[in-house]
C-alpha cells in the first residue's frame, strides 16, 4: 500500500492566521507580562503589582467589577432563556421578533451607555415619565454616585445590550436538540415546566455553559458603559487600566491591571475549555 502523501494545503491556509495571532495576540500578551513584572532597566520586579494592590482605586474597581458580573450575568441568562423558549413556540411574527431581539448584538457599549444615561439623567426620560405618572413632582437625581442608582443603571444597560448574544447561542443550541425528546416527554404526560426543566435544559447544558462563560469574560472587561453612565463616580478594572495608561502615563501599571483582567478571564476560559472538551456537540 502506498503511504498517503503528506498534504500541506491546510497548513498553508492556516499559516497567515496562525502567524497573525502569534504576532498580534500571543506576543503582546508576553509583552504585557514584561511590562507588569519588569522595570525599565530590565530587572524583574513585583513593585508594579504591589502598587496596584495598594492603589486606592484597586479594591473599589475589583469589587465593582465582581458585583456587576454577579448582578448582570444571571439576569441575562434568565432573560435570554425566556426569549429563546419563546422562539421555540412558533409564534406568528417570530421573524420580526428574532430581528428585534438580536438588534442589541450590534450596539456598542458606548452607545448603550449613552442611551441609558439619557434615560437616567436628571432631566432624562425616566424622571419625565415618573413626573407624568404623578410619582415625582421634581426630578430625582438618579446618577448620584453615593446611591445605588448608577449601579442599577449600568446593570440595566448591560442586560439590555448584551443579552442578545446569550439569546443567539441558546437558540442555536435549542435548534440542535431534536424535538422528539420533548414530544416523548409530552406523551408520557410531562407538562411544559417539567419538559423544560427535565428535558430541554439538561440537553442545552453545553450552550448554557458557553454562553455564561463567554458573557462572564466579556463582563470582566466592561468599560465604556460604566464611564458613560457613572462618569468618575464609579470605577471598574478596565477603567483603571485605561486611566493608568492615558492619564497617569504609566504603561507598567496599566499592563498590571490588564494582566489582572487576563488572569480572571483565563480562570473563566479554563472552565470554558474544560466544558468544551466534555461535550463534543457543544454549540458556540
Amino acid at each position: 500500500m502506498n503511504l498517503k502523501r503528506f498534504n500541506w494545503e491546510p497548513y498553508l491556509l492556516l499559516l497567515p492566521s496562525a502567524l497573525y495571532l502569534v504576532f498580534f495576540l500571543a506576543w503582546p500578551m508576553f509583552q504585557a507580562f514584561g511590562l507588569a513584572f519588569q522595570a525599565d532597566d530590565g530587572h524583574l520586579t513585583l513593585d508594579y503589582m504591589q502598587r496596584m494592590f495598594s492603589d486606592v482605586m484597586f479594591s473599589a474597581a475589583l469589587i465593582n467589577t465582581v458585583k456587576l458580573i454577579i448582578a448582570i450575568v444571571p439576569l441575562q441568562f434568565i432573560l435570554a432563556l425566556v426569549m429563546a423558549l419563546l422562539m421555540m413556540e412558533r409564534l406568528r411574527g417570530s421573524d420580526i421578533l428574532v430581528y428585534i431581539y438580536s438588534i442589541p448584538l450590534a450596539i456598542s457599549d458606548l452607545a448603550a451607555g449613552i442611551i441609558w444615561f439619557s434615560i437616567f439623567t436628571q432631566r432624562g426620560y425616566l424622571n419625565s415619565l415618573l413626573y407624568g405618572l404623578g410619582v415625582l413632582d421634581k426630578p430625582f437625581l438618579f446618577l448620584n454616585y453615593q446611591s445605588n442608582w448608577p449601579f442599577a443603571a449600568i446593570v440595566l444597560a448591560e442586560v439590555w445590550r448584551a443579552t442578545s448574544i446569550v439569546f443567539v447561542i441558546l437558540v442555536a443550541g435549542l435548534q440542535s436538540i431534536p424535538r422528539d425528546y420533548a414530544e416523548a416527554a409530552e406523551v408520557f404526560g410531562a407538562n411544559w415546566f417539567t419538559r423544560v426543566w427535565r428535558v430541554t435544559l439538561p440537553l442545552l447544558r453545553p450552550s448554557i455553559q458557553t454562553a455564561l462563560i463567554l458573557r462572564t469574560i466579556l463582563a470582566v472587561q466592561m468599560f465604556a458603559v460604566v464611564v458613560a453612565i457613572a462618569g468618575r463616580g464609579m470605577t471598574v478594572l478596565a477603567n483603571e487600566a485605561y486611566r493608568w495608561y492615558s492619564e497617569y502615563r504609566s504603561p507598567h501599571l496599566a499592563a498590571t491591571y490588564a494582566m489582572f483582567i487576563l488572569v480572571i478571564s483565563l480562570g473563566t476560559a479554563f472552565i470554558y475549555l474544560r466544558a468544551l472538551r466534555v461535550k463534543e456537540e457543544m454549540v458556540l
Binding site: A106, S108, G132, R232
Partner: protein, 275 residues
Amino acid sequence: MKRKTSYSRLVVRGLVYLVAVLIALWILIPIYLITIAAFSPKDVIYSWPKSLFPQTISLETLKFFVSAQYVLPSLRNSVVVALLTLVISLVIGAPAGYALARYIFRGKDIFRIMILSTRAFPIVILSIPLAVTFMKWGLYDNLISVAILHVAMALPTTILVTSSVFVGVSKELEEAATVFGCSRVQAFTRVALPLALPGLAASAIFTFVLSWNEVFAATILTLQNRTLPARLFIQLAASPLPFRFAGGFFILIPAITFMFFIRRYLFSLWGITLK
C-alpha cells in the same frame, strides 16, 4: 390524559404573545428614546419634563454634532479602520476557515480550540503592550495600528464563521468541478466562492460592526486620529447633553442597519457547532 380546555389554552397563548411583545418593547423603547433625543432641538433637550411623544422634529442637535470640530474627520477614521479591519481579517481568516471546513489534518482540533479560546480574548491586554510597541515603531496614532488590533480581536470569529460558511457549501460540487476539468483553485473560485459569498459578506459586515463599535483600543492607540467612538468617549464628560445624545444615536444607527442585512445569517453563523 385530559386535554386542557381550549379556553385556558387561548389564555396561555395570549400570555406568551404578551411576554414576547413586552421583551421586544424593552429592547425598542430605549432606541426610540435616543432617537427622539437626537431629533429634539437643544432647548427641548435641556427642558424638563420631556415629552415622550415630541411634536416637533428638528435636525438642530444632529447638525450641531456633525459640525463640531473633529467629528467628521473621526467619522472618516472610523470608516477607514473598519474597512481595513474587514478586508484584512477576511483575507487572512477565510483561508483558515476554509481549511477547517474542508480538510482533515493533524493538529486541527488543537488549532480550533486555540481559536475558540482567543475568541473572547480581553482587548485590554492587547491594547496596552501594542500601544507601547506601536510607539516604538512610529505607528502610534496611526489608523493602521487600530486596524491591526481590531483584526486580532475579530480574526478568531472570522475564522469560525467562515468555516461554518464553507461547511454549508457542498464539498461534492467542488469535487464535481474538478472532475469536469477545473483545477483545485478554479473549483474554489468558480464554484465554492460564489456560493459562499453571501455568508462571507455577512461575516464581513459583522467584522465592520465590531470595529465600528470598539472603544477601548481605539482610545488607547490614538491621540489626534481618533475614531468616532474614541472621540466621543474622550469628550463625553466635557460634552453638553445634545452632543452626547446625537453622538450615541450616530454610532447606533449604522450598527442597527447592518444588523438588518445579516439577520438571516444570525443563527447559521453564530450558532456554529463544533461537530
